[in-house]
């Protein structure tokens, strides 16, 4: 009985914290005016916001007497896939020149996104 009460309260607190971080992520998405800075908001929501919501789900399943571990897997897949999509959105931003042009790399010729398939050197 005691454990169930504690788990229910803990689930409630995690829900509050998680939704708070999701709300901050949405505010960031609306507030920033540059595509690159706007990209920062959703990558943050994906980590702590969703993590706390999944923790709440695990805790409430524990309180209901039916422990669940699916959430760990959701978390793992999220951690693996979120950086990949963020990376691709950043590449599109660079390619479309929606952002400040990045400085050229110190040792190599250019960034792989800006490299043209032709043999001619990049104009930058």
């Amino acid at each position: 009985m005691m454990l169930e009460t504690v788990a229910t309260y803990a689930a409630g607190i995690s829900l509050l914290i998680g939704s708070g971080f999701v709300l901050v992520g949405v505010i960031g998405l609306l507030k920033f005016n540059d595509p690159m800075t706007r990209l920062h908001a959703p990558t943050k929501v994906g980590t702590i916001g969703i993590g706390m919501l999944l923790l709440a789900s695990m805790l409430s399943a524990l309180a209901a007497g039916d422990p669940s571990i699916h959430e760990l897997l959701i978390m793992a897949f999220l951690f693996v896939t979120a950086p990949v999509s963020a990376h691709f959105i950043a590449k599109v931003n660079i390619h479309r020149q929606d952002c400040v042009t990045p400085p050229s790399p110190p040792r190599d010729d250019t960034w792989s996104t800006l490299k043209s398939p032709d043999a001619e050197p990049d104009p930058k």
Partner: protein, 166 residues
């Protein structure tokens, strides 16, 4: 004997991960499911080993665990910092910055892990790799000291990854 094991399990870690994922997917830890997970964990890497020519050599599991703990802690701390920046710093005062991180890591797996860590840590997004793979382009949301941010990435994450993939 060791050659037989090597032939059966070209990627022991992948076998372990697949077995754990299978058990988690079933949401039910029973002996039958564990055995079936191990069977899948042996069959899938064996069937796809032709697409995995280079096993990462010398992967240190113990160091990887402590690295994961540090990264999760950093994610929590930096999330709060970024939430604070989102709520309090107006757009006109925001100082987004590109930083270039010269890489000492050589293996593609290690560079992928560094880029993933940088993106998961709030406030930084890894945006691009240079054409020869010697530098990583990182976008920082708000910083007064771009060089310090670069040095922190190098000393905090890259140094540890160099030890893991030694």
């Amino acid at each position: 004997m060791s050659r037989a094991i090597r032939w059966l399990m070209p990627h022991p870690l992948l076998t372990l991960i697949l077995a754990v994922v299978w058990v988690l997917l079933q949401n039910d830890v029973t002996a039958g499911m564990v055995v079936f997970g191990i069977i899948l964990g042996i069959l899938i890497p064996w069937g796809t080993s032709i697409w995995w020519p280079d096993t990462p050599q010398g992967f240190r599991m113990g160091k990887m665990v402590s690295y994961s703990v540090i990264v999760i802690w950093d994610i929590i701390v930096a999330n709060i910092q970024v939430a604070w920046i989102v709520l309090t710093v107006p757009n006109s005062k925001l100082k987004p910055e590109w930083i270039v991180v010269p890489l000492e890591l050589k293996q593609p797996e290690a560079i992928t892990m560094l880029a993933g860590t940088i993106t998961l840590t709030p406030g930084t997004v890894s945006a691009d790799l240079s054409d020869e793979g010697h530098s990583l382009l990182v976008h920082v949301l708000h910083t007064d000291d771009p060089d310090g941010a670069r040095d922190e990435i190098k000393s905090r994450y890259e140094r540890r990854l160099l030890e893991i993939f030694a």
